[in-house]
Protein backbone atom coordinates (compact mmCIF):
# COMPACT_ATOMS: atom_id res chain seq x y z
CA UNK A 1 0.00 0.00 0.00
CA UNK A 2 1.67 3.19 -1.15
CA UNK A 3 0.59 6.19 0.88
CA UNK A 4 0.50 9.37 -1.16
CA UNK A 5 -0.55 11.78 1.54
CA UNK A 6 -1.51 12.10 5.18
CA UNK A 7 -3.94 14.80 6.31
CA UNK A 8 -5.14 15.78 9.75
CA UNK A 9 -8.41 17.68 10.10
CA UNK A 10 -9.38 19.30 13.41
CA UNK A 11 -12.81 19.01 14.96
CA UNK A 12 -14.12 22.13 13.24
CA UNK A 13 -13.10 20.95 9.78
CA UNK A 14 -9.88 22.90 9.40
CA UNK A 15 -6.83 21.30 7.85
CA UNK A 16 -4.03 21.32 10.43
CA UNK A 17 -1.55 19.02 8.76
CA UNK A 18 -0.80 17.87 5.29
CA UNK A 19 2.09 15.93 3.91
CA UNK A 20 2.64 14.30 0.54
CA UNK A 21 4.99 11.42 0.05
CA UNK A 22 7.03 10.41 -2.92
CA UNK A 23 5.34 7.41 -4.44
CA UNK A 24 7.58 7.14 -7.48
CA UNK A 25 8.98 3.91 -6.00
CA UNK A 26 5.63 2.24 -6.33
CA UNK A 27 4.94 3.80 -9.69
CA UNK A 28 7.17 2.00 -12.21
CA UNK A 29 6.15 4.14 -15.16
CA UNK A 30 7.94 7.05 -13.52
CA UNK A 31 5.20 9.51 -14.32
CA UNK A 32 4.91 12.22 -11.75
CA UNK A 33 1.44 12.96 -10.50
CA UNK A 34 -0.18 15.95 -12.16
CA UNK A 35 -2.81 16.48 -9.53
CA UNK A 36 -0.72 18.41 -7.05
CA UNK A 37 -2.93 20.76 -5.08
CA UNK A 38 -2.06 24.15 -3.71
CA UNK A 39 -2.65 24.98 -0.09
CA UNK A 40 -5.98 26.65 -0.76
CA UNK A 41 -7.28 23.60 -2.64
CA UNK A 42 -6.23 21.46 0.28
CA UNK A 43 -8.15 23.59 2.76
CA UNK A 44 -11.26 23.30 0.60
CA UNK A 45 -10.72 19.57 0.24
CA UNK A 46 -10.44 19.19 4.02
CA UNK A 47 -13.60 21.11 4.85
CA UNK A 48 -15.51 19.38 2.06
CA UNK A 49 -14.40 16.04 3.40
CA UNK A 50 -15.52 17.11 6.85
CA UNK A 51 -18.99 17.91 5.52
CA UNK A 52 -19.27 14.78 3.41
CA UNK A 53 -18.32 12.80 6.48
CA UNK A 54 -21.24 14.30 8.40
CA UNK A 55 -23.66 13.88 5.50
CA UNK A 56 -22.71 10.25 5.03
CA UNK A 57 -23.53 9.56 8.67
CA UNK A 58 -26.98 11.09 8.10
CA UNK A 59 -27.88 9.20 4.93
CA UNK A 60 -27.31 5.76 6.37
CA UNK A 61 -30.68 4.07 5.84
CA UNK A 62 -32.84 3.62 8.96
CA UNK A 63 -33.04 -0.11 8.53
CA UNK A 64 -29.28 -0.29 8.52
CA UNK A 65 -28.99 1.85 11.63
CA UNK A 66 -31.32 -0.46 13.49
CA UNK A 67 -29.45 -3.57 12.49
CA UNK A 68 -26.17 -1.91 13.40
CA UNK A 69 -26.61 -2.29 17.11
CA UNK A 70 -25.11 -5.75 17.09
CA UNK A 71 -22.26 -4.94 14.76
CA UNK A 72 -18.75 -5.35 16.01
CA UNK A 73 -16.58 -2.26 15.74
CA UNK A 74 -13.36 -3.92 16.74
CA UNK A 75 -10.49 -3.53 14.33
CA UNK A 76 -8.00 -6.42 14.31
CA UNK A 77 -4.36 -5.69 15.02
CA UNK A 78 -1.99 -6.15 12.11
CA UNK A 79 1.53 -6.66 13.43
CA UNK A 80 4.20 -4.09 12.67
CA UNK A 81 2.35 -1.86 10.22
CA UNK A 82 4.80 0.95 9.55
CA UNK A 83 7.34 -0.14 12.15
CA UNK A 84 10.31 -2.48 11.90
CA UNK A 85 9.61 -6.09 12.69
CA UNK A 86 12.28 -6.97 15.26
CA UNK A 87 12.25 -10.61 14.20
CA UNK A 88 13.24 -9.72 10.66
CA UNK A 89 15.88 -7.11 11.42
CA UNK A 90 19.50 -8.11 12.15
CA UNK A 91 20.06 -9.32 15.68
CA UNK A 92 22.62 -6.71 16.65
CA UNK A 93 20.60 -3.74 15.48
CA UNK A 94 19.46 -1.28 18.14
CA UNK A 95 15.77 -1.71 18.97
CA UNK A 96 13.64 1.19 17.86
CA UNK A 97 12.08 3.53 20.38
CA UNK A 98 8.61 4.87 19.86
CA UNK A 99 8.39 7.93 22.09
CA UNK A 100 6.53 7.23 25.31
CA UNK A 101 5.20 3.99 23.83
CA UNK A 102 7.19 1.12 25.29
CA UNK A 103 8.00 -2.00 23.31
CA UNK A 104 8.56 -2.66 19.62
CA UNK A 105 5.20 -1.40 18.39
CA UNK A 106 2.84 1.42 19.38
CA UNK A 107 0.11 -0.98 20.38
CA UNK A 108 -0.41 -4.70 20.10
CA UNK A 109 -4.07 -5.39 20.52
CA UNK A 110 -7.20 -5.12 18.43
CA UNK A 111 -9.00 -1.86 19.12
CA UNK A 112 -12.35 -0.17 19.06
CA UNK A 113 -13.30 2.09 16.17
CA UNK A 114 -14.92 5.41 17.14
CA UNK A 115 -16.07 5.99 13.57
CA UNK A 116 -19.33 4.08 13.50
CA UNK A 117 -21.52 5.70 10.92
CA UNK A 118 -19.30 8.23 9.21
CA UNK A 119 -17.40 7.92 5.96
CA UNK A 120 -14.59 5.49 6.38
CA UNK A 121 -13.28 4.70 2.96
CA UNK A 122 -13.57 6.33 -0.42
CA UNK A 123 -12.50 4.38 -3.49
CA UNK A 124 -11.97 5.85 -6.89
CA UNK A 125 -10.10 4.67 -9.96
CA UNK A 126 -7.29 7.07 -9.04
CA UNK A 127 -6.75 6.49 -5.35
CA UNK A 128 -8.31 5.14 -2.18
CA UNK A 129 -8.90 7.36 0.83
CA UNK A 130 -9.21 6.15 4.42
CA UNK A 131 -10.54 8.14 7.38
CA UNK A 132 -9.95 7.48 11.08
CA UNK A 133 -11.86 9.68 13.51
CA UNK A 134 -11.00 9.98 17.19
CA UNK A 135 -13.31 10.50 20.16
CA UNK A 136 -12.25 14.14 20.33
CA UNK A 137 -13.38 14.74 16.74
CA UNK A 138 -9.99 14.77 15.07
CA UNK A 139 -9.80 13.13 11.65
CA UNK A 140 -6.75 11.37 10.29
CA UNK A 141 -6.89 10.84 6.54
CA UNK A 142 -4.63 8.65 4.44
CA UNK A 143 -4.65 8.76 0.66
CA UNK A 144 -3.35 5.56 -0.83
CA UNK A 145 -2.29 5.05 -4.42
CA UNK A 146 -3.76 1.56 -4.37
CA UNK A 147 -6.78 1.30 -6.62
CA UNK A 148 -9.27 -1.28 -5.50
CA UNK A 149 -11.01 -3.49 -8.05
CA UNK A 150 -14.42 -2.20 -8.99
CA UNK A 151 -17.29 -3.40 -11.08
CA UNK A 152 -17.31 -0.31 -13.21
CA UNK A 153 -14.14 1.67 -13.28
CA UNK A 154 -15.76 4.96 -14.02
CA UNK A 155 -17.90 4.68 -10.93
CA UNK A 156 -17.05 5.91 -7.49
CA UNK A 157 -17.85 3.55 -4.71
CA UNK A 158 -18.53 4.69 -1.21
CA UNK A 159 -18.51 2.29 1.59
CA UNK A 160 -19.64 3.01 5.09
CA UNK A 161 -18.36 1.41 8.19
CA UNK A 162 -20.81 -1.44 8.31
CA UNK A 163 -19.07 -2.87 5.29
CA UNK A 164 -22.12 -2.46 3.14
CA UNK A 165 -21.74 -0.87 -0.20
CA UNK A 166 -23.93 2.19 -0.45
CA UNK A 167 -24.35 2.03 -4.19
CA UNK A 168 -25.62 -1.46 -3.86
CA UNK A 169 -24.69 -3.13 -7.12
CA UNK A 170 -26.03 -6.61 -6.72
CA UNK A 171 -23.24 -8.15 -8.76
CA UNK A 172 -20.88 -8.41 -5.77
CA UNK A 173 -18.53 -6.22 -7.65
CA UNK A 174 -16.18 -5.75 -4.79
CA UNK A 175 -13.65 -8.08 -3.52
CA UNK A 176 -14.91 -7.62 0.03
CA UNK A 177 -11.86 -9.19 1.56
CA UNK A 178 -9.51 -6.78 -0.11
CA UNK A 179 -11.66 -3.86 0.97
CA UNK A 180 -11.64 -4.98 4.55
CA UNK A 181 -7.95 -5.73 4.70
CA UNK A 182 -7.01 -2.38 3.21
CA UNK A 183 -9.24 -0.51 5.60
CA UNK A 184 -7.97 -2.47 8.61
CA UNK A 185 -4.35 -1.79 7.75
CA UNK A 186 -5.20 1.87 7.18
CA UNK A 187 -6.88 2.06 10.60
CA UNK A 188 -3.83 0.48 12.21
CA UNK A 189 -1.58 2.95 10.43
CA UNK A 190 -3.71 5.97 11.25
CA UNK A 191 -3.99 5.05 14.91
CA UNK A 192 -0.20 5.06 14.94
CA UNK A 193 -0.19 8.53 13.41
CA UNK A 194 -2.56 9.46 16.26
CA UNK A 195 -0.09 7.99 18.77
CA UNK A 196 2.72 10.07 17.25
CA UNK A 197 0.45 13.12 17.27
CA UNK A 198 -0.30 12.65 20.96
CA UNK A 199 3.40 12.37 21.72
CA UNK A 200 4.99 15.00 19.50
CA UNK A 201 2.26 17.55 18.88
CA UNK A 202 0.19 17.49 22.07
CA UNK A 203 3.30 17.50 24.27
CA UNK A 204 4.95 20.34 22.36
CA UNK A 205 4.58 23.40 24.60
CA UNK A 206 4.88 25.73 21.61
CA UNK A 207 1.94 24.18 19.79
CA UNK A 208 -1.39 25.93 20.18
CA UNK A 209 -4.46 23.75 19.92
CA UNK A 210 -6.43 23.59 16.67
CA UNK A 211 -3.62 25.37 14.78
CA UNK A 212 -1.51 24.04 11.89
CA UNK A 213 1.19 21.61 12.96
CA UNK A 214 4.73 22.72 12.25
CA UNK A 215 6.92 20.24 14.00
CA UNK A 216 10.03 18.65 12.52
CA UNK A 217 9.94 15.84 15.03
CA UNK A 218 6.38 14.97 14.09
CA UNK A 219 7.33 15.15 10.41
CA UNK A 220 10.24 12.78 10.90
CA UNK A 221 8.24 10.25 12.85
CA UNK A 222 5.39 10.20 10.36
CA UNK A 223 7.85 9.85 7.52
CA UNK A 224 9.60 6.88 9.10
CA UNK A 225 6.19 5.28 9.68
CA UNK A 226 5.32 5.65 5.99
CA UNK A 227 8.80 4.57 4.87
CA UNK A 228 8.54 1.37 6.86
CA UNK A 229 5.22 0.54 5.31
CA UNK A 230 5.59 -2.33 2.91
Amino acid sequence: MGIEAILIINKSGGLIYHRSFDVSKTNPTGTTSKHSLNSNDLLILASTLHSVFVISSQITPKALQLSQSNLNYTIPYHPYVGVKNPEKSPRNSIPNKYGSFKGDDYFKEPFHSWNKSGLKQLSTDQFTMYIYQTMTGLKFVAISSTVLPSHNDSETNMMNNSGININNNSSKNINALQYNLGSQIADNLLRKVYCIYSDYVMKDPFYSLEMPIKSDLFDDKVKSLIDNLL
Partner: protein
Protein backbone atom coordinates in the same frame (compact mmCIF):
# COMPACT_ATOMS: atom_id res chain seq x y z
CA UNK B 1 1.42 -16.38 25.87
CA UNK B 2 1.34 -12.64 25.76
CA UNK B 3 -0.46 -12.83 22.47
CA UNK B 4 -3.30 -14.90 23.83
CA UNK B 5 -3.63 -12.58 26.79
CA UNK B 6 -3.88 -9.46 24.70
CA UNK B 7 -6.40 -11.00 22.37
CA UNK B 8 -8.56 -12.01 25.31
CA UNK B 9 -8.29 -8.42 26.53
CA UNK B 10 -9.68 -7.19 23.27
CA UNK B 11 -12.62 -9.54 23.17
CA UNK B 12 -13.43 -8.04 26.52
CA UNK B 13 -13.15 -4.55 25.09
CA UNK B 14 -15.56 -5.39 22.31
CA UNK B 15 -18.25 -6.52 24.72
CA UNK B 16 -17.58 -3.89 27.33
CA UNK B 17 -20.95 -2.26 27.32
CA UNK B 18 -22.70 -5.57 27.85
CA UNK B 19 -20.65 -6.21 30.94
CA UNK B 20 -21.78 -5.22 34.37
CA UNK B 21 -20.41 -4.30 37.74
CA UNK B 22 -17.66 -6.49 39.05
CA UNK B 23 -16.77 -7.97 35.69
CA UNK B 24 -16.26 -4.60 34.09
CA UNK B 25 -14.25 -3.29 36.97
CA UNK B 26 -12.01 -6.35 36.85
CA UNK B 27 -11.45 -5.84 33.14
CA UNK B 28 -10.37 -2.23 33.61
CA UNK B 29 -8.01 -3.25 36.37
CA UNK B 30 -6.14 -5.77 34.18
CA UNK B 31 -6.31 -3.37 31.25
CA UNK B 32 -4.73 -0.51 33.23
CA UNK B 33 -2.15 -2.75 34.89
CA UNK B 34 -1.10 -4.13 31.52
CA UNK B 35 -0.53 -0.67 30.05
CA UNK B 36 1.37 0.47 33.11
CA UNK B 37 3.61 -2.59 33.07
CA UNK B 38 4.26 -3.12 29.40
CA UNK B 39 3.30 -0.18 27.28
CA UNK B 40 4.42 3.09 28.77
CA UNK B 41 7.80 4.67 29.41
CA UNK B 42 8.30 6.03 32.93
CA UNK B 43 10.19 8.88 34.53
CA UNK B 44 11.83 8.90 37.93
CA UNK B 45 9.20 9.44 40.63
CA UNK B 46 11.38 11.64 42.83
CA UNK B 47 12.21 13.90 39.90
CA UNK B 48 8.51 14.22 39.19
CA UNK B 49 7.60 14.98 42.82
CA UNK B 50 10.36 17.57 43.16
CA UNK B 51 9.47 19.26 39.89
CA UNK B 52 5.88 19.64 40.99
CA UNK B 53 6.99 20.94 44.37
CA UNK B 54 9.16 23.56 42.70
CA UNK B 55 6.24 24.67 40.53
CA UNK B 56 3.99 25.19 43.54
CA UNK B 57 6.75 26.98 45.41
CA UNK B 58 7.40 29.25 42.45
CA UNK B 59 3.70 30.09 42.28
CA UNK B 60 3.76 30.95 45.99
CA UNK B 61 6.57 33.38 45.31
CA UNK B 62 4.96 34.85 42.20
CA UNK B 63 1.64 35.47 43.92
CA UNK B 64 3.01 36.48 47.33
CA UNK B 65 1.35 33.54 49.04
CA UNK B 66 -2.12 34.46 47.83
CA UNK B 67 -3.34 30.88 48.05
CA UNK B 68 -6.66 31.45 46.32
CA UNK B 69 -4.83 32.68 43.25
CA UNK B 70 -2.40 29.79 43.47
CA UNK B 71 -5.26 27.28 43.56
CA UNK B 72 -6.75 28.94 40.51
CA UNK B 73 -3.46 28.88 38.67
CA UNK B 74 -2.75 25.27 39.45
CA UNK B 75 -6.21 24.42 38.19
CA UNK B 76 -5.74 26.27 34.92
CA UNK B 77 -2.30 24.72 34.41
CA UNK B 78 -3.93 21.35 34.93
CA UNK B 79 -6.74 22.22 32.54
CA UNK B 80 -4.25 22.97 29.79
CA UNK B 81 -2.48 19.69 30.47
CA UNK B 82 -5.77 17.78 30.48
CA UNK B 83 -7.01 18.97 27.09
CA UNK B 84 -3.78 17.64 25.58
CA UNK B 85 -3.24 14.59 27.75
CA UNK B 86 -6.61 13.15 26.75
CA UNK B 87 -5.24 12.55 23.24
CA UNK B 88 -2.39 10.53 24.69
CA UNK B 89 -4.85 8.56 26.79
CA UNK B 90 -7.16 7.84 23.86
CA UNK B 91 -4.34 6.96 21.45
CA UNK B 92 -2.95 4.58 24.04
CA UNK B 93 -6.15 2.88 25.14
CA UNK B 94 -8.65 3.37 22.27
CA UNK B 95 -11.45 2.73 24.76
CA UNK B 96 -15.04 3.21 23.58
CA UNK B 97 -17.23 6.01 24.95
CA UNK B 98 -18.61 5.33 28.43
CA UNK B 99 -22.40 4.99 28.53
CA UNK B 100 -22.68 6.26 32.12
CA UNK B 101 -20.73 7.94 34.92
CA UNK B 102 -20.21 4.65 36.71
CA UNK B 103 -18.10 3.37 33.85
CA UNK B 104 -16.43 6.78 33.54
CA UNK B 105 -15.37 6.56 37.18
CA UNK B 106 -13.97 3.08 36.59
CA UNK B 107 -11.96 4.24 33.59
CA UNK B 108 -10.64 7.29 35.45
CA UNK B 109 -9.48 5.38 38.50
CA UNK B 110 -8.40 2.01 37.14
CA UNK B 111 -6.99 3.10 33.79
CA UNK B 112 -6.20 6.84 33.72
CA UNK B 113 -4.78 7.28 37.25
CA UNK B 114 -3.03 3.94 36.96
CA UNK B 115 -1.40 4.71 33.63
CA UNK B 116 -0.24 8.23 34.43
CA UNK B 117 0.40 8.18 38.18
CA UNK B 118 0.44 4.47 39.09
CA UNK B 119 -2.25 4.91 41.74
CA UNK B 120 -5.84 3.71 41.87
CA UNK B 121 -8.13 6.05 43.79
CA UNK B 122 -11.21 4.63 45.48
CA UNK B 123 -14.59 5.68 44.11
CA UNK B 124 -17.10 6.49 46.81
CA UNK B 125 -20.01 8.69 47.94
CA UNK B 126 -22.21 8.31 44.86
CA UNK B 127 -25.11 10.71 44.69
CA UNK B 128 -28.51 9.10 44.33
CA UNK B 129 -28.85 9.99 40.64
CA UNK B 130 -25.36 8.64 39.90
CA UNK B 131 -23.89 11.80 38.45
CA UNK B 132 -21.63 12.85 41.31
CA UNK B 133 -18.92 10.82 42.97
CA UNK B 134 -15.79 11.18 45.06
CA UNK B 135 -12.30 10.01 44.28
CA UNK B 136 -10.45 9.14 47.43
CA UNK B 137 -6.72 9.27 46.92
CA UNK B 138 -5.34 6.71 49.32
CA UNK B 139 -1.86 7.68 48.22
CA UNK B 140 -0.94 10.86 46.42
CA UNK B 141 2.45 10.87 44.69
CA UNK B 142 2.35 14.65 44.25
CA UNK B 143 2.15 15.23 47.99
CA UNK B 144 4.98 12.88 48.94
CA UNK B 145 7.59 14.55 51.21
CA UNK B 146 5.35 17.63 51.47
CA UNK B 147 4.62 19.64 54.60
CA UNK B 148 2.53 22.76 54.26
CA UNK B 149 3.37 25.91 56.24
CA UNK B 150 0.77 26.83 58.82
CA UNK B 151 -0.91 29.65 56.87
CA UNK B 152 -1.17 27.52 53.71
CA UNK B 153 -2.95 24.71 55.53
CA UNK B 154 -6.22 26.57 55.60
CA UNK B 155 -6.37 27.64 51.97
CA UNK B 156 -3.99 25.88 49.62
CA UNK B 157 -5.09 22.80 47.70
CA UNK B 158 -1.61 21.56 47.01
CA UNK B 159 -2.56 18.98 44.35
CA UNK B 160 -5.19 21.14 42.66
CA UNK B 161 -3.50 20.51 39.30
CA UNK B 162 -5.11 17.04 39.28
CA UNK B 163 -8.59 18.60 39.32
CA UNK B 164 -7.62 20.77 36.37
CA UNK B 165 -6.32 17.81 34.40
CA UNK B 166 -9.55 15.90 35.02
CA UNK B 167 -11.66 18.90 34.06
CA UNK B 168 -9.77 19.46 30.79
CA UNK B 169 -9.66 15.82 29.81
CA UNK B 170 -13.35 15.17 30.52
CA UNK B 171 -14.36 18.30 28.65
CA UNK B 172 -12.58 17.05 25.53
CA UNK B 173 -14.70 13.90 25.60
CA UNK B 174 -17.80 16.09 25.93
CA UNK B 175 -18.40 15.68 29.66
CA UNK B 176 -18.83 19.04 31.38
CA UNK B 177 -17.96 18.46 35.03
CA UNK B 178 -17.30 20.43 38.21
CA UNK B 179 -14.24 19.11 39.94
CA UNK B 180 -12.66 20.19 43.19
CA UNK B 181 -10.96 19.05 46.37
CA UNK B 182 -13.08 18.70 49.48
CA UNK B 183 -10.38 17.46 51.82
CA UNK B 184 -6.66 16.81 51.82
CA UNK B 185 -4.44 14.96 54.30
CA UNK B 186 -1.89 17.76 53.89
CA UNK B 187 -4.40 20.06 55.57
CA UNK B 188 -4.83 17.65 58.43
CA UNK B 189 -8.00 16.00 57.10
CA UNK B 190 -8.57 12.28 57.45
CA UNK B 191 -8.49 11.60 53.72
CA UNK B 192 -7.75 13.22 50.37
CA UNK B 193 -10.98 13.52 48.46
CA UNK B 194 -11.81 14.97 45.02
CA UNK B 195 -15.46 15.56 44.18
CA UNK B 196 -16.54 15.07 40.55
CA UNK B 197 -19.96 16.34 39.50
CA UNK B 198 -21.34 15.93 36.00
CA UNK B 199 -23.09 19.11 34.87
CA UNK B 200 -24.15 17.98 31.45
CA UNK B 201 -23.07 15.97 28.47
CA UNK B 202 -22.16 18.35 25.64
CA UNK B 203 -24.28 16.48 23.09
CA UNK B 204 -23.77 19.04 20.33
CA UNK B 205 -20.06 18.53 20.45
CA UNK B 206 -19.99 14.76 20.18
CA UNK B 207 -18.32 14.15 16.82
CA UNK B 208 -20.82 13.03 14.21
CA UNK B 209 -20.29 9.58 12.85
CA UNK B 210 -19.82 8.10 16.26
CA UNK B 211 -23.28 6.61 16.55
Amino acid sequence: MSKSRSSSLSTHAANLSSKTGANQSKFFKTFGDDIWKNKIEKVNAELFIMTYGVIVQQLCQDFNNDYMKINENLFSMGYNIGVRLIEDFLARTALPRCPNMIMTSEVITKVAFKVFLNITPVVDNWSSNKDTFSLILVENPLAEFVDLPHDAKKQLWYSNIICGVLKGALEMVQLDCDIGFVSDVLRGDASTEIRVKLNKILKDEIPLGED
